[in-house]
Amino acid sequence: MRKEYTVTYKSENIYDNWVHDAYWQFLIIPLENKTQKLKEFDFSNSLHCINQFSINGFGFNTIKIHPQNKFKHICFEATFKVLKSKKNLPEQTSFAQVESSWKEIGSLEFKIDFEQYLKVTSLTKIPKEKQGLFQFGSNRGIFENLKDLNHWTHSHIAYRSGVTDTTSTLETILKQRTGVCQDFAHLFCAICRQNNIPCRYVAGYLNHESGYLGDSQMHAWVEAYVPSYGWLGLDPTNDVLANMDHIKVCHGKDYNDCSPLKGIVHSLGNHTTTHSVVVKNHQRQIQQ
């Protein structure tokens, strides 16, 4: 079974004063992997600057724009045609696997190999008094624990936009118990890592037509490592496993590694930036 999507990303920036020098980096191109293919892709901007195809520090594909003339207004528009095929999910963990997978996770070798996704960052730091919020059960498989945590995170926070931003810490989020997708993802990552399971923050696009909650901009979910399976996508905002409705762009330790738009703009005065993302599922389901 496959699904074909058209993703349209738009961003508009308006400045009070002339901008003489600017440099933008867009981290918005869907990743190519076994279950996700990028068929077509088009990127344009209102100043007709050349698209520079580049990478970010972690090797994900980016587009960079470096305008040569001064401006006050610039629009970006990108469309991506993406083909998603179904990813097989882990099977229920057998009794023998439970023990061996926990043993693997406890080994020094494992801790070294996955060090990057086991460490605490400023956005995935759980305040002292909230340590031990959710404990993984060592008598159950990691896959089962992850599904429980997904459900727990989903029910622990209520989805509400406008109450947090991309710099909100878990201290704020756990206090108010409301937030948006990146807050769910940060909380999941933090708890997962605290339980010694490597977990990475994922940014991408969500098919809203399936009735899921998520931003009208980009969506965030997580990938946790399941021994003898690999990275498993989970979406705590919607309490589902990420699969055909989740189009991945990149992953990192937290939002800061995955920020879709970074710009170095030299200008005085105020500016406004708006983004929008539309994900359209063409043929509802293509039978292979």
Binding site: Y23, Q25, I55, N56, F58, G59, K111, I112, E115, L118
Partner: protein, 487 residues
């Protein structure tokens, strides 16, 4: 004690508890110093004062100045210079040189390893926490192969001579070690003031540093480049080491640039010139990792170049030193240096390490907390002598304060026995006479592709305040010309 009666050294008082560099173990002036001693001794104090002020003027006129951060009244100062040089004979130098190269090579292999296979961690030689807890470890460097396989192109090794007559390394500086311009300018100043003394000694030149540095930078050029275009990037004229940045660019014959002089297009780096963009291949960068590229690191950095890191990651430009080297000159990593050298090079360390207590280990923390008065306590991540407390100089109240700080954040501190730095006769303005002052030595080691070089001289820093052990220029230190003698 032959010439002690001569004019200039007549009031020189020798404290027998200190290791004085110019005396041998029998209390006689060392042979290598005798001639120097006679020549200097032939001058009257008044002659010496005149010479000294000439040397000072020479520094001011050349603009060899620095600023100290954190002072209200920031003004340009000259780095105080002492006309009486330090001599290192060939045998001693041989040990220092081999030891400096050994450390630089071991650190380079260590950096390669912790950004690739991490074998040293898996073999439990160095604990994983040392890396994960270091703010200087850059995830972005994971799996990246720097051109020529070199991370620490330039290393500054701080070495002291203890009262046992042995050399010890106090720290390795492999981010942007500074001070080499003083080595060269000290030599020039001494030659201008007292050129005659050089007729009696065969010293190695220090002015070949720039050509060696350039040769090394060119040796690590990106793939596919024939004749690389090298530049030096500086944070700008307000940086304390700006003189050095401009000096090195000038003597290498390359451009000195600031971040705003460069731009990145399609992952290649260009320099803005009046004749249009000019591609840049190798950057000797004197700005810290965090400021290199606002897209990748600190977004508020106005000193860096947007897109620079992507150009580096793609292999289109070389950065020297490589980003992320700071993880290896952390003071906590220093304490594992003997193990690191043995692990990668299968050799015994040539230079000694000072024994270090890790406050992150509970038993060692207890020892430190109980013995603060006999230890030097240092934060692991500060450079320039900031935040160091020397136990026997502290009041009981201050000791309590240090104890509290260490207890609150043990990972942040290490402690070492108080090392007694050797002393060297140094002219003191206030008393108009020579007195013993503590000295250390910073060597400059260059690693290139199949190339290693140690500047034959190095920077001897002098703690000018009486009894002071901290020699950093930001803490009121001066310097001396340092001679390595040919056999």
């Amino acid at each position: 004690m032959s010439n002690i009666e001569n004019q200039i050294f007549s009031s020189y008082q020798r404290n027998p508890d200190l290791f004085d560099e110019i005396y041998d173990s029998n209390g006689n002036i060392k042979d290598v110093y005798q001639k120097l001693f006679d020549i200097y001794g032939g001058h009257s104090i008044q002659d010496y004062i005149n010479l000294n002020s000439k040397a000072k003027a020479s520094f001011f006129n050349q603009g060899i100045t620095f600023q100290v951060y954190g002072e209200d009244n920031v003004q340009e100062k000259i780095f105080p210079f002492d006309l009486f040089p330090r001599i290192i004979d060939q045998d001693e130098w041989d040990v220092i040189e081999r030891g400096s190269i050994q450390r630089a090579k071991a650190l380079n292999l260590f950096l390669w390893d912790i950004y690739h296979d991490k074998k040293i961690l898996k073999d439990k030689v160095v604990p994983l926490e040392l890396i994960t807890s270091s703010a200087n470890y850059l995830d972005q460097m994971n799996g990246l192969n720097p051109p020529g396989g070199i991370y620490n192109h330039i290393s500054g090794t701080d070495i002291i001579k203890h009262k046992d007559g042995q050399y010890y390394v106090l720290e390795d500086n492999i981010r942007c070690p500074s001070g080499v311009s003083y080595v060269i300018c000290n030599r020039t100043a001494l030659k201008r003031a007292l050129f005659g003394v050089f007729n009696h000694y065969q010293t190695y030149t220090v002015t070949d540093y720039a050509e060696n540095l350039l040769e090394q930078l060119e040796s690590v050029k990106p793939k596919g480049v024939d004749i690389p275009n090298c530049v030096v990037i500086t944070p700008g004229m307000y940086n304390s080491a700006f003189y050095e940045h401009s000096y090195l660019a000038k003597t290498m014959g390359v451009e000195l640039v600031e971040g705003r002089d460069l731009f990145v297009e399609n992952d290649f780096v260009y320099m803005k010139t009046i004749k249009g963009p000019e591609k840049v291949d190798v950057i000797y960068r004197r700005i810290d990792d965090a400021f290199l590229d606002p897209l990748e690191f600190r977004p508020d950095s106005a000193l860096g170049v947007p897109g620079l890191f992507a150009a580096y990651k793609k292999g289109n430009v070389t950065l020297a030193n490589a980003p992320g080297t700071g993880v290896a000159d952390d003071k906590a990593v220093y304490t594992y240096m003997p193990e690191i050298i043995k692990y990668y090079l299968k050799e015994e360390p040539i230079l000694n390490n000072v024994h270090t207590y890790h406050c992150s280990r509970p038993d060692e923390l207890n020892y430190v907390l109980e013995n603060i008065s006999e230890l030097v306590v240092k934060p692991v991540d500060e450079a320039g002598g900031y935040g160091i407390s020397i136990g026997n100089r502290l009041t009981p109240k201050e000791i309590e304060e240090v104890r509290k700080q260490v207890k609150e954040n043990p990972r942040k501190y290490v402690a070492q026995p108080i090392m007694s730095l050797s002393v060297h006769p140094t002219y003191i303005d206030d008393t108009e006479s020579f007195e013993q002052r503590h000295v250390d030595l910073r060597t400059f080691t260059i690693l290139g592709k199949d190339k290693e070089f140690v500047l034959k001289g190095g920077l001897t820093r002098v703690a000018l305040k009486k009894g002071n052990l901290i020699v950093n220029s930001s803490q009121g230190g001066g310097s001396k010309d340092t001679w390595v003698l040919k056999k």
